[in-house]
């Protein structure tokens, strides 16, 4: 039994390391493109767009963790959910920083004007602001300290990507296919949760019964 849990924790470390490195690939690609003149005619646009889109992708990945567990019984993604969320925050920070630096040259008056007047900036800034408390309460100590409230607070993880999709939808000129595709993925991920809730209410069983396998690796620690 002991040997098994050591093996599980070793493989969990391995998974974490792989996911950590994978999450750095977009940053690496953007940096490489920047240094080798490979970001096209408008590198600034490529950087701002790239960091934004990866924020959204990582946010959606965090929402994929529970469906993977409930549908396929995979427990290992839970071990990397926090990391995915923090990387989403990391890319959001880069996105915000590049906007402030390259689009606004740190002209704070212009930034405030933008946030107030441009709905797509308002949505993006609100999404970022809501990510801050989630990142700040992501440590084990904060999870323990906040108890039940931690879960309540982290339900913002459903709201933030919705704001992200809206932010994207409002900024495209005419071709709304990409933002709608992200919106559809988000709708599916949130729709699943609503469906499970509805079903558990109808059958009177708590929602968690749907989890088929609980592996040792899924324990919090």
């Amino acid at each position: 039994m002991r040997g098994y849990s050591v093996a599980a924790s070793a493989s969990r470390k391995m998974i974490k390391a792989v996911v950590f490195l994978a999450c750095l690939i977009p940053l690496g690609m953007l940096t490489y493109g920047l240094l080798t003149n490979g970001l096209g005619a408008n590198p600034v646009k490529a950087i701002i767009h790239g960091t934004g889109v990866w924020t959204l992708r990582l946010l959606l990945l965090t929402l994929l963790v529970t469906p993977l567990r409930r549908i396929f019984g995979w427990a290992w993604p839970i071990a990397v959910r926090r990391m995915l969320g923090l990387f989403a925050f990391f890319y959001a920070l880069l996105h915000l920083f590049t906007y402030l630096l390259l689009d606004q040259s740190f002209d704070w008056q212009a930034v405030v004007h933008d946030v107030v007047k441009r709905p797509f900036i308002t949505a993006g800034m609100l999404a970022f602001t809501l990510m801050v408390p989630l990142a700040a309460t992501s440590t084990n100590a904060m999870v323990r300290r906040l108890g039940r409230n931690w879960k309540r607070l982290h339900r913002l993880a459903y709201v933030i990507p919705a704001l992200g999709v809206l932010h994207y939808y409002w900024l495209v000129k005419a071709d709304v296919r990409a933002p709608l595709a992200y919106g559809a993925v988000l709708a599916m991920l949130l729709g699943l949760r609503l469906w499970w809730r509805y079903r558990s209410r109808v059958s009177g069983r708590p929602a968690a019964v749907g989890a088929r396998v609980v592996m040792p690796a899924a324990r919090r620690g």
């Binding site: 600034v44 040259s105 933008d114």
Partner: protein, 174 residues
């Protein structure tokens, strides 16, 4: 981006057809060929792409028909074989790969105006004081530069073209 176009004034071409006083506007149409132009396979805009100018704008010596840039023949993506260049207007007015030019009495319905009339007007003169409803038009980034710079009225061609719009409310005719 400041581009050294190779071309000739549109006026030179139009004069050959001896436009009458009924020619109030010029309508331009882009080639519709989804095989060659895969972007047209999806109805992002109502194809074919249509643009237009008022006659006096079209006859202005700064309005060019371009056949090249940087001393070379126009590449396909830049609007080969023939494209319009209207340097004091937003880029989408400079219609590419023109297959039809029509002189007419009515103001043509342009592709972007049709798609979003609140966001894109017929004139589309570069104007830092009139924002797009969703974003500011006060500053721009030139391709090749990291930071934005203030956008100039009529893209810096005010001395040459401002008289065309004397007395017009440019907030209304954006």
């Amino acid at each position: 981006m400041v581009i050294p176009w190779v071309g000739f004034p549109l006026a030179d071409l139009l004069k050959r057809f001896q436009p009458t006083s009924r020619a109030k506007y010029v309508k331009f149409v882009t080639l519709y060929d989804p095989e060659q132009m895969p972007g047209q396979r999806w109805p992002v805009l109502k194809w074919p792409y249509v643009e237009g100018l008022r006659m006096d704008e079209a006859m202005h010596p700064l309005t060019l028909l371009a056949v090249g840039l940087y001393g070379k023949v126009l590449p396909n993506q830049n609007g080969a074989p023939l494209r319009l260049v209207v340097p004091w207007k937003y880029g989408f007015k400079s219609i590419k790969s023109i297959v039809a030019i029509r002189l007419q009495e009515e103001q043509p319905m342009t592709a972007w105006h049709r798609a979003a009339p609140r966001e894109y007007g017929f004139y589309s003169n570069v104007n830092p004081h009139v924002d797009h409803p969703r974003w500011s038009q006060a500053r721009e980034r030139r391709i090749g530069e990291w930071f934005k710079r203030p956008t100039q009225m009529f893209n810096g061609y005010g001395d040459q073209v401002a008289h065309l719009y004397a007395g017009m409310d440019l907030k209304k005719y954006f």
